[in-house]
């Protein structure tokens, strides 16, 4: 912009500053202008490396613009715009400022040309996003935010350790292909893995996101995990381990999603499931697979955002989010219902919806590269995601039993944001070539051949049939007020309880010892004083003669033995 290249994050940080000191319609206008100006700025920035800084002995490049970064750049501008429209009704200075800083940090991270800059924005992502959870201002959200922050900070520290090891080894900080070699490779891999929701490291996501505000979750779902996907695509393409990690990520969350009652938590689990598809694509590493992963990240931000927005709208107008307390809302919220169903159809990858055009690329890549078992797992996960995100979410929120709630439609800005996202879902689904043009690699791929369309439609319709059958025969697990144990049990229950038990045991030991001593010390004192006190037998002084007698006796005994 203005002849020199402007880093996209600057625009958002400046807007955040203005958002913090203004209010009302002025703040709304500033917030809306940021992603629009940012997108124009990005469009005018040619590919290349800018903002070179020398730091110690290293060359840093704060702004690196290439095809991969540009795609995520546009995606984040788009996501920020939709989420800002969705949150226009807010009058919450802290939340609105934090969300602008958060979006800016995500942009800073994807345009970072070196690992140190990446680290800085990696940490900023963590710190700014936690305010969106705390903005709920409940006791529960405070604690969930703390746990969320803990994971994010650990990820940041691992990244820092990895970056230091990397710089030590290679003498450069350039962020290119890293690969799983050496300590630095693994440290950075795990750091990315935490933010990407790898199995056993995923719990911050399902714990934190559902506790954020209705608007906060929309921001959260768009940025952190997609920055991690970007980082993996940049640093670890073609790492075979990722194929298996990704396959596990697609499958395990769907079981939790089926029994989860909090519908936004169901969506958080399904977010991990969708990330799994992307991770598989990155792990396969061919041009088609990477394109598929990146395209799926693009689509996921929009359709998952749409689903989170529709559930956020329900939470906003009813104050409830549990499947067991909702139902029948289609009667008074028909617009939200339809928009939610469009999101559900997109995430389920129905032909003509956006999920289909990107997911099928990853599935094809898995088959082309002889990952038969992984392909079967992805197929199972595709059926499963339709089951829990495609049917369960709209069904339990808007249909199912009538909860008696007659809530009005959400505010106009919410409907508008959802409509934009829904339009994009359908447009990308029908005209995938617009998205394909943006992808990092040239390719010739057509998702709409009879084979793909028929296979996917059959899979989905028979999944729906299974849902109907299970529901009609009352075999579908009912929505219950409950908590389901996940990995967080280890640090929310096992470790605190173990420490508490150890503390109790120590206290009991101390008590027992003091009790014992209270009982036996007087006896000991008595015994000692009996013998050693001035009047005691051992303390008596004896005459020299007696002593001499004893010595003589001893000498005699000695002689006799000898």
């Amino acid at each position: 912009m203005f002849g020199t290249e402007m880093a996209p994050f600057v625009i958002f940080f400046v807007a955040a500053l203005f958002a913090a000191i203004t209010h009302g319609w002025l703040r709304a206008a500033i917030m809306l202008a940021a992603p629009i100006l940012g997108a124009i700025n990005l469009w005018m920035t040619p590919e290349g490396s800018y903002w070179a800084i020398s730091f110690l002995d290293f060359e840093l490049s704060v702004l690196r613009v290439d095809r991969l970064a540009i795609l995520f750049g546009y995606l984040f501008h788009l996501a920020a715009f939709i989420a800002i429209v969705y949150s226009l009704h807010l009058r919450d200075r802290m939340q609105q400022t934090a969300s602008m800083l958060y979006a800016g940090s995500a942009l800073g991270a994807v345009f970072a040309g070196d690992l140190l800059t990446l680290f800085v924005f990696w940490e900023l992502l963590a710190i700014t996003s936690v305010f969106l959870i705390w903005a709920r201002r409940t006791n529960q959200s405070y604690h969930a935010g703390m746990r969320y922050l803990l994971f994010q900070v650990i990820s940041g520290l691992l990244l820092l350790g990895g970056v230091i090891a990397f710089a030590n080894m290679s003498g450069s900080l350039l962020f290119e292909n890293i690969g799983l070699t050496g300590v630095h490779g693994w440290l950075i891999f795990i750091a990315f893995g935490i933010k990407c929701g790898f199995p056993f490291l995923h719990n911050w996501l399902t714990d934190g996101y559902p506790e954020a505000t209705p608007t906060g979750t929309v921001f959260l779902s768009a940025f952190t995990t997609k920055v991690a996907v970007y980082a993996l695509a940049r640093g670890y393409p073609g790492t075979e381990l990722l194929v298996y990690i990704g396959a596990a990520m697609t499958c395990f969350p769907i079981f939790f999603a089926v029994i989860e009652n909090d519908l936004r938590r169901v969506l958080a689990y399904s977010l991990i499931n969708q990330l799994g598809f992307m991770v598989v694509g990155i792990g396969i590493g061919t041009a088609l697979a990477i394109n598929g992963a990146v395209a799926h990240a693009f689509n996921d931000v929009i359709f998952k955002g749409l689903l989170f927005m529709s559930m956020g709208a329900v939470l906003h107008v009813t104050g409830k989010m549990n499947g067991s307390e909702l139902g029948g809302l289609y009667k008074t919220m028909p617009k939200t219902t339809i928009l939610c169903i469009i999101g559900a159809a997109s995430i389920s990858a129905f032909p003509l919806f956006s999920g289909f055009v990107s997911k099928s690329m990853i599935m094809s890549a898995a088959l082309n590269n002889d990952h038969t078992w992984v392909w079967l797992m992805l197929l199972f996960a595709s059926a499963g995601v339709f089951h829990h995100a495609g049917i369960k979410i709209p069904y339990f929120a808007f249909f199912a039993h009538d909860s008696g709630i007659r809530a009005k439609e959400p505010p106009l800005n919410m409907i508008l944001a959802m409509t934009i996202a829904a339009t994009l879902c359908i447009t990308i689904g029908i005209f995938p070539e617009y998205l394909y043009q943006l992808l990092p690699y040239e390719m010739d791929y057509n998702p709409y051949d009879a084979t793909h369309v028929l296979a996917q439609t059959q899979l989905l319709f028979f999944s729906a049939l299974a849902f109907v059958w299970l529901n009609l025969y009352k075999m579908y697990p009912p929505e219950l007020l409950s908590v389901n144990l996940d990995v967080d049990w280890i640090y929310r229950r096992l470790i605190p309880r173990t420490l508490q038990r150890l503390g109790n045991a120590k206290q009991a030991l101390v008590l027992a010892v003091s009790h014992l001593s209270a009982q036996h010390l007087p006896k000991l004192t008595n015994y000692i004083s009996r013998h050693y006190a001035p009047q005691g037998s051992l303390a008596k002084t004896s005459s020299t003669g007696t002593a001499v007698m004893w010595i003589v006796l001893m000498l005699v005994a000695y002689l006799l033995i000898k």
């Binding site: 709920r136 059926a383 028929l454 028979f462 219950l480």
Partner: protein, 100 residues
């Protein structure tokens, strides 16, 4: 009262219609399997109605495993946060929420 108003799915007939539509679609999709000559990438796709059966069985297995998981993993809703620590307010925002 507004609650007396009849909505689309208050009429059981409409639910039946939707379900019948689904059954017909499923049947059509299986028939299409014989009509359309699809490209086969993997030998398993040659199996009779591979995708429909995989989708149906997959989902049933999913639900049954999930039900079994409930026995193992489900706890009371106040398992982590005892009720005296959790607010009972139905609002999406805490009491300390400030609007500026």
């Amino acid at each position: 009262m507004k609650t007396d108003k009849k909505y689309l799915f208050d009429n059981p007939k409409n639910i039946k219609r939707v379900l019948h539509g689904l059954y017909i679609c499923c049947a059509l999709l299986v028939i299409l399997d014989f009509v359309i000559n699809r490209k086969v990438y993997h030998s398993w796709e040659n199996l009779w109605a591979f995708y429909p059966i995989y989708g149906f069985v997959g989902c049933v297995v999913l639900v049954f495993v999930a039900r079994w998981m409930r026995i193992l993993l489900m706890r009371d809703e106040h398992y982590y946060d005892p009720p005296e620590l959790t607010e009972v307010s139905g609002s999406a925002e805490g009491e300390k929420h400030v609007r500026d």
